[in-house]
Symmetry: C2
Subunit: 167 residues, 2 copies
DNA sequence: AAGATTACGTTATAACATAACGTTAAAACG
DNA sequence: CGTTTTAACGTTATGTTATAACGTAATCTT
């Protein structure tokens, strides 16, 4: 445990977005320790970048940012492998409709996210809705289908941008 | 109206998947006529291919198929433009988690689809669920968000493949 | 310390998508 | 009916996203 460690209990539910990238990485580190998996340097860097960016990050955007930090050329597989790990562990999600990646506020729950993504400012919001989850699961069951992953993305305009563009 | 035209009323609700690609194209032609838009040759070809394929079609897969049909080289923009049209008109949808395209059984309703996609055999199923739609809309409204498009995709294993792989 | 495993570096290339611009074909209009 | 306008398409080039394959280094296991 490090000085920056954060007790998971401390996070108000669904509100981890209020913490800094550094804190988020520390939180992830604790979980990884507990799970016996390795949050290596590059994985930390990528996770921190995801939290720092206020919009979904493209893989090549992450590469550029990493190169600025380290002054060494970073090849795509490096960053895609880090992303794969972060997604497996629930620390990140891919926004399929954007081919971009966001950090994930609830690494305990896999695939139970709804994302609202603003077409205008690229802001995104992560929601959970157990009822909607249940309903999707029911739909699947009814079709004899065994779900492994769900993608639920709502694209549109966020509250802030609606105010601005009101004509 | 052509011989192959199909009266929309004839389709049992949500069951148009039972008709042939040719019939689907004829149906789309009628709708396009009514809407005053043009279902050109290449658009028809692409729509027919989408219906013929039993899995989501990649754009480059469509290109290859078109080249086999016409013996002329087809460049990507040609097929992407046709797909854009079909999507605009509700005759096709993009499966974002696959970067692939499927024909759409209910061109009247935009963005109100749920897709179940089998990881194993690539079969897909298109569903509608007004209640789930409503719930998603409510979530968005609650966040002050104005949705324009929804992506709901459930990945997993279909009933058929579950039987086969049961170990 | 030796062997096994996991992560990473590196090169190359595959797969997906669009910009830009010229040409053809169809629709609209007087 | 021919001219204008617009929509669709052809073509070339290029941009963007993602992965295969293979070697090296670091870490874990015993």
């Amino acid at each position: 445990m490090t000085e920056e460690s954060i007790n998971p209990e401390v996070f108000p539910e669904n509100n981890r977005g209020d913490y800094s990238a550094v804190q988020q990485v520390a939180y992830a580190r604790d979980i990884c320790d507990a799970r016996g998996v390795r949050l290596t340097h590059i994985r930390q860097q990528v996770l921190a970048l995801l939290w720092e960016n206020k919009h979904p990050s493209g893989a090549y955007e992450l590469i550029e940012a990493l190169e600025l930090q380290g002054a060494r050329p970073i090849a795509p597989p490096t960053v895609y492998r880090a992303l794969d790990f972060l997604i497996e562990q629930g620390f990140a999600c891919k926004i399929e409709s954007r081919n971009a990646f966001v950090p994930c506020a609830s690494p305990e729950r896999f695939n139970e996210h709804i994302f609202l993504i603003c077409d205008d400012c690229e802001a995104w919001l992560e929601l959970e809705d157990p009822q909607l989850e249940q309903q999707l699961a029911d739909e699947a069951t009814h079709a004899g289908f065994k779900p492994s992953r769900r993608v639920v993305e709502v694209l549109g305009t966020c509250a802030k941008c609606l105010l601005t563009q009101e004509v």
